[in-house]
């Protein structure tokens, strides 16, 4: 950042102007500050100051058991909390070397994709809002609402889902999930068509998005971009296809890639990924069979309440899990999941006693 205001032209006495955009500003949806140096209408320099929303996730997690971290993962990205929940559960299961039942993995895929839809809808909507397009924003929010209503029926919460557990999920899908999903799907598809018509071929929208915020594929890789931001540059890196977790190798879906790495391509990639998510969920619902949704191991997952109240084994297992948590063997593990904005990674180092250190690798900080 240029630390002092430089005189641009002594004859005109024009100086650069500094404006603090944020931390409280209509366009700063989190609390981010951008110190802008302006030459008239041209932005000469931007200094992005993150940290107003530092939650201390890693420090807080040090005094938690593995399952107690799950509510914290909700807050890592509040529009796709389920991806983070699933990522955390997968990481610890990888360290334990256990595999939950098939139905559980399908459910995790479904909720992950619903989260991704809500994340992309928010991104598209907010992007349009920033350009003054308030109507497409509300259409996107309405579509997101449909998705969130289904999520609420599944998890009991809209944002703070905390749906997964190490070794399973809290509950099976509700009985009427199929109908609810079909209804939500139709609504989302209808609204996406509206958004598409309002924005994609809109000349003003195109002029403002195309060629703005361009990043080359090489730079994006160097900076550690992942997710739609990287795919918009033409690199088809998607964790779901490069290192399939859950059953992403059993479903068919396309990974949309852009060409120019500008805002417009990022918008198109996200729009297409919503459609692909719908495809994935439909296939999951076709493939999944009834069955248990948690592993049958009381050293990892809480026993059923009936067993806790009536049997000594259940009681002790419950006590040990609540007081000491899951015992993960000493060692280190990196778990990953394709979140809404890119690869969400958790690097966990365990000492074997139940306490651990975690470092999360969120997609957004790297691309700031």
């Amino acid at each position: 950042m240029t630390s002092t205001l430089r005189k641009e032209d002594d004859h005109l006495h024009s100086e650069y102007m500094q404006i603090a955009m944020g931390p409280s500003h209509p366009a700063m949806h989190g609390t981010v500050q951008m110190l802008l140096t302006l030459d008239g209408e041209t932005v000469v320099d931007v200094d992005v100051r993150i940290g107003y929303l530092h939650r201390g996730f890693e420090k807080m997690s040090e005094v938690c058991t593995y399952n107690q971290v799950i509510p914290y993962t909700d807050r890592l990205n509040y529009v796709s909390p389920l991806c983070n929940n699933v990522g955390w559960a997968l990481t610890i299961e990888k360290a334990l070397g256990i595999k939950p039942p098939e139905r559980c993995d399908y459910i995790r895929m479904i909720v992950c994709e619903m989260s991704r839809m809500s994340d992309h809808l928010t991104s598209i909507g907010a992007g349009s809002l920033e350009l003054g397009g308030f109507t497409p924003f509300l259409y996107a929010v309405q579509a997101r609402e449909e998705v969130w209503e289904v999520i609420e029926e599944v998890t009991g919460a809209r944002l703070t889902t905390s749906y997964t557990r190490v070794g399973g999920v809290t509950a099976d899908l509700p009985e009427n999930f199929g109908e609810r999903w079909v209804h939500a799907k139709h609504e989302v598809e209808r609204l996406i068509v509206d958004i598409d018509k309002l924005l994609t071929r809109n000349r003003i929208f195109y002029d403002r998005m195309a060629g703005v915020g361009v990043i080359s594929a090489e730079d994006a890789v160097d900076y550690g971009f992942t997710g739609p931001a990287l795919r918009s540059t033409g690199v088809d890196y998607d964790v779901r296809t490069y290192a399939p977790y859950l059953f992403y190798d059993r479903v068919e879906f396309d990974v949309p890639v852009g060409k120019h790495g500008d805002n417009y391509d990022r918008y198109l990639v996200r729009l297409e990924e919503i459609r692909q998510s719908i495809r994935i969920i439909d296939q999951c619902l076709e493939q999944m069979q009834p069955g248990p949704v948690r592993i049958d191991d009381w050293s990892v997952i809480l026993p059923p309440k009936d067993a806790v109240y009536n049997t000594i084994e259940g009681m002790i297992a419950h006590f040990k899990l609540i007081m000491e948590g899951v015992k993960v063997p000493a060692g280190e593990v990196y778990g990953y999941v394709e979140g809404g904005n890119g690869e969400v990674g958790y690097y966990v180092v365990s000492d074997g006693s139940g306490s651990f250190n975690v470092s999360d690798a969120p997609p957004s900080t790297r691309s700031t």
């Binding site: 102007m17 500094q18 404006i19 500003h25 209509p26 366009a27 302006l38 008239g40 209408e41 349009s128 809002l129 920033e130 350009l131 003054g132 397009g133 308030f134 109507t135 497409p136 509300l138 259409y139 309405q142 309002l198 924005l199 809109n202 003003i204 929208f205 002029d207 403002r208």
Partner: protein, 358 residues
């Protein structure tokens, strides 16, 4: 009439027309705008404020307007931040409002005497012979309110908004004016009353000047600082633009003056291109001297004028809630590189056609 009587009569008319007609339409617009956007966005819109329950049809409209008025009146009136100019900060809303009201001096919303006929025009405050030129002069002044307010606020966002207002309004006034020149040429007068009478005899302005009408509409949206041309108050960039540092009634006066300007420009568009108060295939009854005989047809004509005006404003609202905002450089480019040459072309084309026809 002596000079004193003339001034007094003008004042009475001004108060009656401006407060009984213009302010009313502008205030109702603040409600309609929200309702219209709500319909487009699958929302309900304002529906919490009712007057006397739901006893009469417009109680929601009236309730919302009253609630808004009370809200802005009782809110804290903030001072500008340190380094601002409190005096200029206080008078700048008035500087924005007065020109917006003065525009109405030359806009007739009902039938006046035929061109050349002597007689009182009951629907016009003052029959100025330069008509629209006066309106453009006043419109130019309205830039000062916004710019001075922005300057007195001593805020980065405000000053950027103020600069954008100045640049944008000056740029688009050229296009706005040039498109009306075609109408002046065809009807040979700058009095809107004469132009409307002329349209009744010849054809509506939109038929004679289709390109001019479209360009006028675009420029008028830019001139009234509404989306997609709302750069001066672009929320996601400049918070609220030039009135960021204004609160309570001062803020409301700024937005009200904007609405009044919207109504005024729409009214000019109706007068110049959509036949003003003329109803198609209905002749205005006049006596031997050319002064209209007022009756039920007059009432219908005023109503049709209002309907046309609301239609134009509705069109602008529809655009506003459909399109995203331009970028500043794109607005300037659109104004100077596309719209201005097009309107010059329109003007030259009109001149050639007129020469050939005569």
């Amino acid at each position: 009439m002596s000079f004193g009587e003339l001034v007094l009569w003008g004042l009475v008319k001004f108060v009656a027309i401006v407060f009984g007609w213009v302010m009313l339409v502008a205030t109702v617009l603040t409600y309609l705008e929200r309702k219209q956007s709500a319909y487009m966005q699958n929302r309900v819109g304002p529906n919490r404020a009712w007057v006397m329950g739901k006893k009469f049809p417009l109680s929601a409209t009236l309730g919302q307007i009253l609630a808004d008025a009370v809200k802005v009146l009782v809110k804290e009136d903030t001072e500008p931040p340190r380094g601002g100019n409190p005096i200029l900060h206080q008078i700048s809303p008035a500087l924005a409002l007065v020109p917006a009201l003065l525009m109405w001096i030359v806009i007739p919303f009902g039938p006046g005497p035929m061109p050349g006929a002597a007689g009182e025009n009951w629907f016009l405050i003052a029959d100025v012979n330069v008509g629209l030129l006066f309106m453009f002069a006043v419109m130019s002044i309205s830039v000062y309110g916004a710019t001075i307010g922005a300057w007195a606020s001593n805020s980065g966002f405000s000053i950027l908004g103020g600069l954008r207002v100045a640049a944008q309004m000056i740029s688009y006034e050229v296009t706005l004016g040039l498109n009306l020149v075609g109408i002046f040429m065809i009807f040979g007068s700058m009095r809107l009353n004469d132009i409307i009478w002329g349209q009744g005899e010849l054809a509506w302005g939109i038929v004679l000047q289709p390109l001019g009408f479209i360009l006028f509409m675009v420029a008028s949206i830019a001139e009234t600082k509404r989306a997609p041309f709302d750069m001066p108050e672009a929320e996601s960039e400049l918070v609220a633009g030039y009135f960021t540092e204004f609160s309570s009634m001062r803020f409301a006066v700024f937005s009200l003056s904007e609405f009044i300007a919207v109504v005024a420009v729409a009214a000019v568009g109706v007068c110049a291109f959509l036949g003003g108060w003329q109803i198609p295939w209905v002749a205005t009854p006049v006596d031997a001297a050319g002064v209209p005989i007022y009756g039920w047809i007059t009432v219908a004509q005023v109503a049709i004028f209002l309907a046309k005006m609301v239609f134009v404003i509705w069109l602008q609202m529809q655009l506003r809630w459909t399109l995203p905002r331009f970028r500043y450089d794109q607005v300037m480019k659109l104004g100077w590189v596309y719209l201005l040459p097009l309107s010059l072309l329109n003007l030259v084309g009109t001149a050639i056609v007129m020469y050939l026809v005569r």
